[in-house]
Every structure is written in structure tokens, then in C-alpha cells.
């Protein structure tokens, strides 16, 4: 795999894997709860860049194995939309996920986190896990 750009451009797409069913609404949109950064000060995402669709899902699957959780899908959002909410994204490659990144710059105030999470959630697009991914 080629090395990824150190700077995440505004047009890069980021995925947040959804491992809790109650974060998905009945109309296949995602609740803001999926974007609340706790207990860490950052929020984990995976960069799409350089990955084929199946490779992206394989990373999601690896997360579920590591976390002993069930994968329900992922929600995608463009980097620019994160930055427009006063946040930033920095690459934080992991041994098992070179495309890992963190959304940083969250305020501490919980209600402000919620309004930012609402806006991010509104702009993100949810995709259910494909049937061939266990």
C-alpha cells in the first residue's frame, strides 16, 4: 500500500463505523450520539483514500473483532464538513489501519458537542453493512 498524504484534504471522505444499533434511525440516518467524543478527546474515523469498498469494510470488520462488537454499517462525511464545524482531522495510522484518523478540536462543553454532532450527523451518509461482511 502506498503511503497516504500527511495532510487530509478537504475533499477526502471519512468513515465512522457504527457498532451500536440505536444510533441508526428508522430512515437510515445516523443520530448525533455516534459523534460524541467520549471518553477520548478525539473521535476515530477511517479515511477512504486508497481503499476499495471491500477493503474499507474489512477494516470495519477488524474493528468489530478487536472490540468484540457487531458492525451495523458506516457513516461517511467529507472532511470539509468537519472543518466547517470548527474541528480538524489528523492522520493517526494504526498497525492494523493505516487509514485511521482522529477528528480533533472538540470543545469540552457537552451541549456544544451535541450541536456540532447534530450538524455532522445531518451531513453524513449512512451505509448498512453488506450482507457478505459478517
Amino acid at each position: 500500500m502506498n503511503s497516504l498524504p500527511d495532510v487530509i484534504s478537504d475533499d477526502e471522505i471519512l468513515a465512522r463505523f457504527i457498532l451500536f444499533s440505536k444510533w441508526i434511525r428508522s430512515d437510515n440516518t445516523v443520530k448525533p450520539d455516534a459523534f460524541i467524543p467520549h471518553p477520548h478527546i478525539d473521535l476515530s474515523v477511517t479515511r477512504h483514500i486508497g481503499l476499495k469498498e471491500n477493503e474499507l469494510w474489512e477494516i470495519g470488520k477488524d474493528v468489530t473483532i478487536l472490540r468484540q462488537a457487531k458492525l451495523y454499517g458506516r457513516t461517511d462525511i467529507q472532511s470539509l464538513k468537519i472543518r466547517k464545524n470548527g474541528l480538524d482531522i489528523i492522520p493517526v495510522p494504526l498497525p492494523n489501519n493505516k487509514n485511521h484518523a482522529n477528528i480533533t478540536g472538540w470543545v469540552k462543553d457537552k451541549s456544544q458537542q451535541k450541536i456540532i454532532a447534530l450538524q455532522i450527523a445531518a451531513q453524513s451518509i449512512f451505509t448498512s453493512k453488506p450482507v457478505n461482511i459478517s
Binding site: K31, P32, D33, I36, K110, S111, K114, I115, L118
Partner: protein, 159 residues
């Protein structure tokens, strides 16, 4: 239901007279109140069951597959009180949990017309409302009644 000190509460209705007309009115009010409470209780039973199910599902650390904190008994109790304090006319919310262990209630019309409120174990209500480009958010202490401003934000979503 009446509003006082910017909160909604149930009144204890007392009539002062003793004549037949007063007795009739008192009887009708009592029947109406019992009917209203039974309807609301039936609705509450469903939402309480959902609340317990979700709290049980999230009662261990890491329930979100990342490093979420568990929902504890105090948070559950606070959430139950919050639901019980909602005016009867308000539509039922959907329930969820945030990674810090707060239980959340959401009133949703569309991604840009949505209200979310979290209740914490220390009895704080953290809320955020998005209606088009209009954003409102804040934190208040939950003291067994729901502030009027929050009810108004909910009704902005539910209509």
C-alpha cells in the same frame, strides 16, 4: 396541566363549593384526570420498557465497540423521571445512549429538524436543537420538572 415557574406540572384540582353543580364538575374533572393519566401511563409503560432494555444493553463499559462508559442506575432513574415529567401532549422520543453514559432522547423530523437531549447521572440536561440553520443548545439542572424553553424546542420539531 399547568405551567408554573417556567415548568410544566400536573395540578391538583380542587373545587370550593359543595352544591350539586360543584359536585358534578368535581366528578367530571376527576374522571377526565383519571382517563388522561391511564392513557399516559399506558404510553409510558412502553417507553419505560425500552429505556430499561437499552440501559441493560449498555450497562458495561465499551458497549459501543469503542470505550464508552456504562449507563448506571442513577442515570436510568433520572431518565425515568424526565420521561414522567413530559407533558402528555408531547410525542414519544426515541431513546439512545452516548459514549459518556448519558441516556439521550431524540425528537426527529428530518436531519435538519431535530432535537436531542441527554440526561447525565448528575441530573444535568444537555440539549441541542437544529432547525434549518437555527441552532440552540444549552445545559440546565433537572429538578423534577422540564423547563418551558425545552418543551418549546421539542414542539418546534413535533409541530
Amino acid at each position: 396541566m399547568i405551567m408554573t415557574n417556567n415548568c410544566y406540572i400536573y395540578p391538583n384540582i380542587i373545587t370550593s363549593g359543595t352544591g350539586p353543580a360543584n359536585q358534578y364538575i368535581s366528578g367530571q374533572i376527576e374522571k377526565w384526570r383519571e382517563h388522561l393519566e391511564s392513557c399516559f401511563c399506558l404510553g409510558l409503560q412502553d417507553i419505560f420498557e425500552e429505556l430499561y432494555t437499552i440501559a441493560e444493553e449498555c450497562n458495561k463499559a465499551g458497549w459501543d465497540g469503542y470505550d464508552a462508559m456504562p449507563v448506571n442506575e442513577i442515570t436510568l432513574q433520572n431518565a425515568r423521571q424526565f420521561i414522567a415529567a413530559l407533558p402528555t401532549k408531547i410525542q414519544k422520543p426515541t431513546i439512545s445512549v452516548e459514549p459518556d453514559g448519558c441516556l439521550t432522547f431524540e425528537w426527529y423530523h428530518s436531519p435538519y429538524r431535530v432535537f436531542s437531549i441527554s440526561i447525565s447521572q448528575d441530573s444535568y440536561l444537555h440539549y441541542a436543537s437544529l432547525v434549518g440553520n437555527n441552532k440552540k443548545y444549552g445545559t440546565v439542572k433537572f429538578l423534577d420538572c422540564i423547563p418551558k424553553d425545552i418543551i418549546m424546542l421539542i414542539t418546534e420539531i413535533t409541530g
